[in-house]
């Protein structure tokens, strides 16, 4: 038998941590995707700087 007893509190904290991790990973993926789209389309080239969509 392990020394540490698994409790509902630990499950809840784990859920919070996993949830936050998923949010952060999702945010990284979105920023990466947006960057790829904008750079590929040349949004940041000087002549296209005014076009944002």
């Amino acid at each position: 038998m392990g020394f540490q007893v698994e409790h509902e509190l630990h499950k809840r904290r784990l859920g919070r941590n996993v949830g936050l991790a998923a949010v952060l990973v999702g945010f990284i993926v979105i920023v990466f995707g947006l960057t790829v789209v904008k750079v590929t389309r040349g949004d940041y080239e000087p002549e296209n700087a005014a076009i944002q969509n």
Binding site: V5, R16, Q52, N53
Partner: protein, 312 residues
């Protein structure tokens, strides 16, 4: 001593991820996502799918953040009203300070990210929407005037305008009309809810129309706003976002909505109480379907337009 020997009562109060998510009012967020998406897709400018997805997500986060700030400010009345007693703050799972921190952080984050993902105007419009909902509606109007829901309804009406702004970078007649549709829909929708929530708002000291002017007056107001809403809703059929599909949907739904409003107007409290506010509840249910199907019809017109089937 292990952690498991801590006080059980305290442990059950600790928030899970879902409690923080509940702060963002997911049901309201779903309406925000849907109407913003329709505004974005109905606009006459194509948006890259990745930018559209990210923009809608940031609009949703902004809407959720304003929900968290609303719960932060209204924690005292949420604890009194039965409908809101199980929210994360009154139930003791999340503190007011946490809700404030989450709301402020996500508000700033969502506006900046939307501006970066789409354009600055869309980001500013989202910032104004959050300001309007939190400061103008929640802090000022809600506890001060029975017209709270009429003016405050504007906050919930901005998302399709923001979606349109993501695509076009500005405002147009069509986006203002989509705003007006939701703006005019909000009062009859909320007042119907008030009629069958009975004493909730009175107990909390919120001056809703039925508390200050009585239930008969509220029934009259529902009818008047429903008639005005019908003019806007059907009139939209003849604009750039309308078409035969929208017109058909609008005529049917507004016919049903007006019939429901007349039925509510003609009832007195004794009759309503006898059948447990059956008609008020069905009118409220219809109001949810009403908005969803109107925006669904706008979406259908926009989706079918490239195939020569949508629009006039």
């Amino acid at each position: 001593m292990s952690d498991a020997s801590l006080n059980t009562n305290l442990q059950t109060q600790e928030a899970g991820f879902g409690d923080y998510f509940a702060l963002l009012k997911p049901r309201v967020m779903s309406l925000v996502v849907f109407t913003a998406l329709v505004g974005l897709l109905a606009a006459p400018v194509d948006v890259h799918p990745m930018i559209a997805f990210a923009s809608i997500l940031f609009i949703a986060v902004g809407g959720g953040a304003s929900g968290a700030l609303n719960m932060w400010w209204d924690a005292d009345i949420d604890a009194v009203m039965k409908r809101t007693q199980s929210r994360p703050i009154p139930s003791g799972k999340v503190t007011r300070d946490e809700a404030f921190a989450i709301g402020m952080t996500l508000s700033v984050f969502a506006c900046i990210m939307l501006a970066l993902a789409s354009n600055i105007f869309a980001g500013l419009l989202l910032a104004f929407t959050i300001f309007f909902y939190v400061v103008i509606y929640t802090m000022w109007l809600k506890r001060w005037t029975p017209q709270n829901i009429v003016i405050g309804g504007a906050a919930g009406a901005f998302p399709p305008m923001i979606g349109w702004a993501v695509a076009t970078g500005g405002v147009s007649v069509e986006s203002v009309l989509m705003f007006t549709l939701t703006f005019m829909w909000t009062p009859p929708h909320f007042w119907a809810l008030c009629l069958f929530m009975k004493s909730d708002y009175k107990d909390a000291g919120v001056p809703m129309l039925h508390v200050t002017h009585g239930r008969k007056s509220t029934r009259t107001h529902i009818l008047v706003y429903t008639l005005l809403l019908a003019v806007v809703a059907v009139g939209m059929a003849f604009t750039g976002v309308g078409g035969p599909i929208y017109l058909t949907v609008a005529l049917i739904l507004n016919g049903l909505f007006i019939a429901g409003a007349i039925s509510i107007w003609r009832r007195d409290e004794e009759v309503a109480e006898a059948d447990n506010y059956k008609r008020e509840k069905s009118f409220f249910g219809l109001s949810l379907l009403y908005l969803f199907l109107h925006f669904g019809a706008i979406l259908a017109e926009a989706t079918l337009a490239p195939y020569g089937l949508g629009g006039w």
